[in-house]
Amino acid sequence: MSRDLSGLLQHPAIWRGRSAAQLRTLPTGFPALDEGLPGGGWPQAGLIEVLPSGFGVGELSLLLPALATTTRRPEARWCAWVAPPLQPFAPALEARGVALERILMVRPPRQDEREKSALWAFEQTLRSGACDIVLGWLRSALPRQIRRLHLAAERGATLGVLFRPRQAARDSSPAALRIAVEPTVGGARVTLLKSRGGARGAIELFSR
C-alpha cells in the first residue's frame, strides 16, 4: 500500500470493517494476546468482560502486567478495585510491579444493598476520569447496566474490567470485548468470545 493511501485511510471519516487503527490501547504484556486483540492490546477506554471458569484460575494474572505498566507511568491515575471478593495481598502486587500508591480499594459495606452499591461505585469510578483502570466484581449485571458502565468508561477514558462468572457468557452483553479464561496445565487459555474488529478463538498464554 502506498504511503498516500495509508495516510488517506487514517482519515477519521473513513470506516473499514475489522479495522481498529484509531483505537488507543494498552499492551497486555502477553504478545500472543496482543496480536489477537483489536488495536493490539486492552482498549484504554471502554468496558471489557472477563469470564473465568472459576475463581483464581489466572484471570487477575492476565491483567497484572497492564496494571503494573499503567500505575508506573508518571501521569498515572488511580487503579480502583470495586468490591473485590477477597483482600488483595499488597506484597504480591508490589512484587509484580504494581505501584501501590495508585491502588484504590472500594469495598461497599456488607449489607442488603451490597450489589447495588457495588454497581453504583463501579459506575462512579469509571465516569469520574480519576482512574486508568477499574476492576469490578459483580455477581449479576443486566445488559442495560453493562451498557451504562461501558458509556461511563468511555466518558472517563477509563478501562473498566468486569469480572463475572462463566455462566454469564450465555447472556448478551454490550461490552466491547468479552473473554473467557480457563486454566491449562501450564497456564491459562483465553478465548475471545466477542471482540469488535479483532480475531476470535482461543489463545494459549503464560506458563506458570
Binding site: P85, L86, A90, P91, A95, M105, G129
Partner: protein, 493 residues
C-alpha cells in the same frame, strides 16, 4: 580553675546604658524639644508587651474565654498571643501613639476584660516573660491594682530582681533545688554563673532567663481568630422530604461558597443540623478529602448524605456549620483530557473519594501499603488514598524499591498469591494431604515461615502452592506443630 563569670546583666555589660554625654547620635528633633526629659537617658525598648492574666475566680478561665478576649484584643494590636491556661500577651509598642500612651492602652484592654466579666491583672514590660512574671507576682501578692508598667529597658532587671522565681512557672523541683541553695528571687538567679546554672538547672531555664531580660529574642505564636461559617434558617412550614430540604439548603450553601471564596479558603468538614419539634436535632456531618469551596460540589455531596438519612420527625429549622477554614490553593485547569498524554487526575481524584465516601462510608475507600513483616497477615495495611503530585510519588516509589531490594529482585515473590483470605480456612486432609473439592496437587517445594515469637502471635508454617481439581492455584500451609493441620490462606488470581 577558670574564672567564674557572673551572669551578665544586660544594663551593665551587654547593653551598656549610654550616658547623655556619649549618646550615639544627637536626635534631629532635639531642638524642637524645649527641655530634654529626665528619661532621655532611658532606652525605649523595641517592643512593649502587655500581659493579661485572668484570675482563677473569674467565671470561666477557659480556652474559650481566652480566645474571646484575644479576638477583642486584636482591636488594640494585631500581635496577640495566647499564653494558656490563663494568660494573654499583647505587643503594644506600635499602638501606643494611636491610643495615647501605655495607660490608655491598658484601660482599653481592662475595659475589654470587664465587658467579658473576667477578673484580670495587667502588666506592661519590654519582654513577654517579664510582663507575665510581673502580672503573676501582682496576682500572688493579692494586689488588686495592676503593677506600674516597665517601659524602660534600663529599669527592667532592677524591677524584676525582687520578684519570686515562682512567677516564672518553672518546674517545681527546679524551684526547690534553687531554694535549697538560697536562690528565691529572679535577681538572685541572674547573679548565678551561667555555665554552672545551665549544668545544674538546665539550658531551658537559662534561655528563659535570657528571654526574660531581653538578651534573647522571644518569638510568640500569633493568635488568629478562628473564622467559621454558621447560618441557621427557620422554615416557614415543616419539611419531610430530603429533596425539599436540599432546596432550602441551597442558598445557605451558596452563601457558604461566597464566604469561602472571599477568604480563599475551603472546608474539610461541614455539619448540617436539622431541628425537629420534639426530638433532638439530626446531625449530618460531611468530611472531605481535600479543601472544598464549590457550592455545587458541596450540594451534591450533601444530597448524597441526606438521602441516606432517616429523619425521625419533620424538620422545622436547618443550620449549616463549617469546620475550620483551610487555605485553598487553586489549581489551573489541565490542557489535556484525563487519560491523554500528560492528563493526570489531580482534580478529579479527591472528588471521587468524597463522592464514594459520602454514600458508602469512610471505611469503604482505602489505599494499600506494604509492611516489612514476614507473617503474611501482617505484611499489609490499609491507608488513606494518596492524593499527590505524580513527581513526588514516583520519587518515593523509587526510594521504596531501592530500600527493599530483596522484594524487588529475588524470586520468592512469584510465590505470593494475589488474594489473601482474611483468616486461614481449615482444609480437610486425608493421609496427610490436603483436600478441597477433591485432592490438591502440591506444586514446587515448601516455603517455611516461622516467626513472630516475640509478640505472642507466633507462626510456624510450611507454605505450598497447590492446584485444585478445577485448575485454581491456591496458597496452602501445613502447621509445623502437631496435629499438622492444613489451611487455605490465599488464591493466586
Amino acid at each position: 580553675m577558670r574564672h567564674r563569670r557572673a551572669l551578665e546583666l544586660p544594663f551593665q555589660e551587654s547593653h551598656p546604658t549610654p550616658s547623655p554625654a556619649q549618646a550615639p547620635s544627637p536626635r534631629r528633633d532635639d531642638a524642637l524639644r524645649p527641655a530634654p526629659a529626665p528619661e532621655a537617658a532611658a532606652r525605649a525598648p523595641a517592643e512593649l508587651w502587655l500581659a493579661v492574666r485572668l484570675a482563677a475566680s473569674s467565671s470561666q478561665p477557659s480556652r474559650e474565654a481566652l480566645e474571646r478576649l484575644g479576638a477583642l484584643a486584636q482591636r488594640v494590636t494585631p500581635r496577640v498571643s495566647l499564653d494558656p491556661p490563663d494568660g494573654l500577651l499583647l505587643e503594644v509598642q506600635g499602638s501606643l501613639h494611636l491610643f495615647g500612651g501605655v495607660e490608655a492602652v491598658r484601660r482599653e484592654v481592662a475595659g475589654d476584660c470587664s465587658r467579658l466579666r473576667l477578673l484580670c491583672t495587667l502588666a506592661v514590660a519590654p519582654t513577654p516573660l517579664a510582663a507575665s512574671a510581673l502580672a503573676r507576682a501582682a496576682r500572688m501578692t493579692g494586689a488588686s491594682a495592676s503593677p506600674p508598667p516597665i517601659t524602660d529597658l534600663a529599669q527592667l532587671v532592677g524591677r524584676l530582681s525582687p520578684l519570686p522565681l515562682a512567677t516564672l512557672r518553672w518546674p517545681q523541683d527546679t524551684l526547690e533545688r534553687l531554694a535549697r541553695i538560697g536562690v528565691r528571687t529572679i535577681g538572685e538567679a541572674l547573679r548565678l554563673p551561667r555555665a554552672g546554672f545551665a549544668r545544674r538547672f538546665g539550658t531551658a531555664q537559662l534561655q528563659a532567663l535570657d528571654r526574660l531580660v531581653g538578651r534573647a529574642s522571644d518569638l510568640q505564636h500569633l493568635f488568629q481568630v478562628r473564622a467559621r461559617f454558621r447560618r441557621r434558617r427557620e422554615l416557614l412550614h415543616e419539611l419531610e422530604s430530603q429533596a425539599a430540604l436540599l432546596a432550602v439548603l441551597e442558598p445557605l450553601l451558596q452563601e457558604l461558597g461566597e464566604f469561602l471564596q472571599a477568604r480563599q479558603c475551603g472546608v474539610l468538614a461541614l455539619e448540617c443540623r436539622l431541628w425537629h419539634r420534639l426530638v433532638p436535632p439530626t446531625r449530618c456531618v460531611l468530611r472531605l478529602a481535600a479543601p472544598l469551596a464549590d457550592p455545587a460540589q458541596l450540594a451534591a455531596l450533601l444530597a448524597e448524605r441526606l438521602s441516606a438519612l432517616v429523619l425521625p420527625e419533620a424538620v422545622r429549622a436547618c443550620e449549616l456549620r463549617s469546620g475550620p477554614l483551610v487555605p485553598r490553593v487553586l489549581d489551573s485547569g489541565g490542557l489535556w483530557q484525563p487519560g491523554e498524554l500528560g492528563g493526570g487526575a489531580a482534580a478529579q481524584a479527591p472528588q471521587l473519594i468524597e463522592r464514594l465516601r459520602a454514600r458508602l462510608g469512610a471505611q469503604a475507600v482505602q489505599g494499600l501499603r506494604v509492611v516489612d513483616e514476614h507473617r503474611p497477615e501482617a505484611a499489609w495495611q490499609v491507608r488513606e488514598p494518596v492524593i499527590g503530585s505524580p513527581s513526588g510519588r514516583s520519587a518515593s516509589g523509587r526510594h521504596q524499591f531501592a530500600s527493599r531490594p530483596a522484594v524487588a529482585d529475588s524470586g520468592p515473590d512469584d510465590r505470593r498469591p494475589v488474594w489473601l483470605l482474611s483468616r486461614p480456612r481449615l482444609l480437610e486432609a486425608r493421609d496427610g494431604l490436603p483436600r478441597r473439592r477433591g485432592p490438591l496437587r502440591l506444586l514446587g517445594e515448601a516455603e517455611r515461615i516461622e516467626t513472630g515469637w516475640w509478640d505472642g502471635a507466633e507462626i510456624a508454617r510450611d507454605y505450598y502452592t497447590a492446584q485444585d481439581a478445577r485448575g485454581a492455584r491456591l496458597w496452602v500451609f501445613r502447621e509445623r506443630e502437631p496435629p499438622h493441620r492444613w489451611f487455605l490462606h490465599g488464591v493466586f488470581g
